[in-house]
Amino acid sequence: MTDLVIIGGGPAGMSAALAAYESGIRDILILERDAALGGILQQCIHNGFGLHKFGQELTGPEYAWKYEKRVHELGIPYKLNTMVLDITYNKVITATNAEDGMFEIKAKAIILAMGCRERPKGALNIAGTRPAGIYSAGTAQKLVNIEGYMPGKNVVILGSGDIGLIMARRMTLEGAKVQAVCELMPYSGGLARNIEQCLNDFNIPLKLSHTVIEIHGKERLSGVTIAKVDDRRKPIMSTAEYIPCDTLLLSVGLIPENELSKSADIELSSVTGGAVVDQDRQTSVSGIFACGNVLHVHDLVDFVSDEAEIAGKCAAEYINGEKCSNISVNLKTDGRIRYTVPQRITQKKDITVYFRVSDVFRNVRINIKNGDKTVFSKKKNKVAPGEMESIQLKAELLDGVSELNLELEEV
């Protein structure tokens, strides 16, 4: 029996481990499928990480190293090249690696920190051929930054997620020509600062309300046809335009990797793709916690670390038998606010509620309602789907309620 098993050794897994350690837990094991700790940050060699957490502009590997160094210093055990194959409701973990073969571990508590994966091309049903030269942006990032190879020289990017924006700049710096970033929606899904620093600074056009409708080329990609879409996101054929290129990068969304959570019968949210959690980041299965991109996709790693610290600390409380619940409040949203994390509150205390909106809105109020009564309201100048927002929920608002509604009001 191990006290705490953490699945995933990226920023979420490491922060959670450190927080649990600081809360007194010593019997910890991190399982990581990659050959090193650090997760996706290993390939994010650009800067901009750590502004909130450390007040510094760090690169991904530098940010990860701050945590990894602590893991080494404290001697927190971890196994690399180790793939978790299954977890059960009873917190039995099955994993495999080269040295131990397939093995089982029973844990008192588990923290899920498996991260997310990119949505692949197949899911988009783009017509045309199936040549080489089409990669998700993250795969291209790995090829360039880790492997040291260029996927191509003449690039179109579909989707304006942050990795796509970062790769637009990266490919340009490596001498490739990035012709355009096409975004299906009328707004970008990426951070405003990335649009500025990765596209505008390099004169790369961002074509909003555009998509790729056809792929050309038999062996290697030779071009794509793009078109404007109407407000129902259907391509307008008269606007079709052929762009010759040898590479198409896709940055069309990230999906939390929850196959293992399903095997443990954890309740998942159809909106976030991650587990439904309480303020402690505990899932519907007691003693199993989740944090980082496996819970919901974050745009800044700083918030991942914050979230993982909560999960680590609360998993420690759970292991020590200190976790208590005294209330049950569900947080509901109105659709304009797509989701909140947490979705459920079981303890009366001050809580930061994170949320994302479904569209770009200006001059809005975020209202929290108990029935018809607005119990809290906060003004925001602009909210966008690409940027995670948060509000502070005071403990006293939780008195005697079973449901609170988060609503977005345009003023």
Partner: protein, 475 residues
């Protein structure tokens, strides 16, 4: 000098090579692509048809029924997944009812066993997700599913284990007749053989023409498909066909042996023999598939297109105009189902042409299944991992494929040489992320095992390079 050269490493050429490899013969398969199963045998419905479709007394009917009979044992010997899931031809109106009766009669004449017509209630009991508007169906319990490229790869692998040779990237361009043998050449290479079988699929007419055989032509008919996530594989358990009409055979919905759900094919005559793109109109037709309720198209993982080889006679063409040279053309559906019987038919003809067939006593019909590791018990897996650590390193996370299995796919006949070859043999890169995570790692393994530079790894041979050089080279 070979005894038999087979042009084309599709399921027809592959099944022939395997059947011939039981005899004391020197056999060589010539294939123009960088891998086997790159033509119609890669992209089709994977249905082992029961045999009620083809006109009575046609070669199609005879070989389909015989081939389908042979298939379970062949699949067993080759370790290929085969599932006898049964098929349903679903009817919606009076016209369909009439057609279903005709299909039933035809099936009986063709020798299909256990066919029956079932009513709406039984249909919905068998398949709860079938359209509420369906009123009856032809039920063919002998219908089955198989993975067509897995079968082709395994057949050719088994033939090679029994001594057959395979030459890839060998596009037959010239064939010269000599006294008692043939000289077959690509731009780079020449082989000689006493007998030649043309199993070049879509290009079988072009190959026949080289020796002056203009007796048939083959044209491509597109079939587009959408493949859905394994989550959806349980939507139906049978292969569900629409009743054929004057407009065509309609779109089928079927589970695959790997547990995905397949929707397709469309049907469109074209002229370009290499045109396998998917189209917006094609998707539209597939989205309209109406035999099954609520197909979750948002769970699509990929789409693809195959080309049927439609022959000029309407039937399979297995013919010869010169001694020692046999052509198999127009092998459209049910060519996959019929392939074992097509092999027998061709071998009979080769015998008539004078090929001496002597059984080898060391012929081994068995091939270790490509998924032996995946299917092994935990204890057996651990024993393997202890011996060879590569089986403990998971490379493809979505489908849980280990480095050991990838290395095996490279070194087992017929070895994979490119990314798609690894995908078809191991399922690595075929899962939810479609290779997003594991592609660079697989490139490293290919590069190391084949001792070729990382830069030269391709998606599927030819000019399908994955990368264009090192970073900083472009600057």
């Amino acid at each position: 000098m070979y005894d038999v050269v087979i042009i084309g490493a599709g399921v027809v050429g592959g099944m022939l090579a395997r059947t011939l490899s039981a005899y004391d013969l020197k056999i060589c398969i010539l294939e123009k692509e960088n891998d086997v199963a790159m033509g119609a045998s890669k992209a089709n419905s994977g249905i082992v048809h029961a045999g009620f479709d083809a006109k009575e007394n046609s070669l199609k009917a005879k070989l389909n029924v015989r081939g389908a009979e042979l298939m379970p044992q062949i699949a067993e010997e080759l370790g290929v997944k085969y599932k006898n899931n049964g098929s349903l031809v679903v009817g919606f109106n009076d016209e369909d009812v009439k057609t279903i009766k005709e299909l039933y009669d035809r099936g009986c004449k063709n020798g299909v066993r256990r066919l029956r017509i079932i009513d709406q209630d039984e249909l919905h009991e068998l398949e709860p997700n079938i359209s509420d508007k369906a009123i009856c169906a032809l039920h063919a319990p002998t219908g089955a599913i198989i993975c067509p490229y897995e079968l082709t790869i395994a057949a050719i692998g088994n033939a090679m284990d029994n001594g057959a040779e395979l030459k890839l990237n060998f596009e037959v361009k010239k064939i010269q007749e000599h006294d008692g043998y043939w000289e077959i050449a690509s731009d780079k290479d020449t082989v000689m053989s006493h007998y030649v079988v043309n199993a070049a699929g879509q290009y079988s007419d072009a190959v026949a023409k080289i020796i002056g055989d203009n007796s048939f032509t083959v044209h491509p008919r597109k079939g587009e498909y959408i493949l859905l996530d394994k989550e959806c594989g349980g939507l139906v358990s049978h292969t569900v066909f629409r009743t054929p009409t004057a407009m065509g055979k309609g779109i089928l919905v079927s589970p695959t042996v790997d547990g995905n759900l397949l929707v397709g094919p469309t049907s469109e005559d074209i002229s370009d023999k290499d045109e396998t793109s998917t189209t917006i109109e094609g998707f539209r037709k597939l989205f309209d598939a109406d035999t099954v309720k609520n197909i979750p198209f948002n769970k699509t993982i990929t789409s693809f297109c195959g080309l049927r080889s439609v022959g000029s006679t309407g039937d399979f063409i297995i013919s010869s105009i010169k001694r020692g040279f046999i052509s198999a053309g127009g092998i459209e559906s049910p060519g996959l189902s019929a392939s074992p019987a097509i092999a027998e038919e061709i071998i009979d003809m080769l015998g008539v042409h004078g090929l001496v067939l002597c059984k080898k006593n060391d012929y081994n019909p068995y091939r270790r299944t490509a998924h032996w590791f995946r299917e092994a018990s935990v204890a057996a897996k651990n024993a393997t991992i202890a011996q060879n650590h590569a089986y403990g390193r998971v490379i493809c996370r979505c489908e849980t494929v280990t480095e050991g299995e990838i290395i095996e796919a490279i070194h087992t006949n017929p070895g994979a040489r490119d990314l798609d070859g690894i995908k078809r043999r191991t399922r690595a890169q075929m899962g939810r992320c479609q290779g997003g995570f594991c592609m660079p790692a697989i490139m490293r393994i290919l590069s190391r095992e084949l001792d070729i530079p990382y830069e030269s790894i391709s998606k599927s041979g030819g000019g399908s390079d994955v990368i264009c050089g090192r970073t900083k080279e472009t600057l």
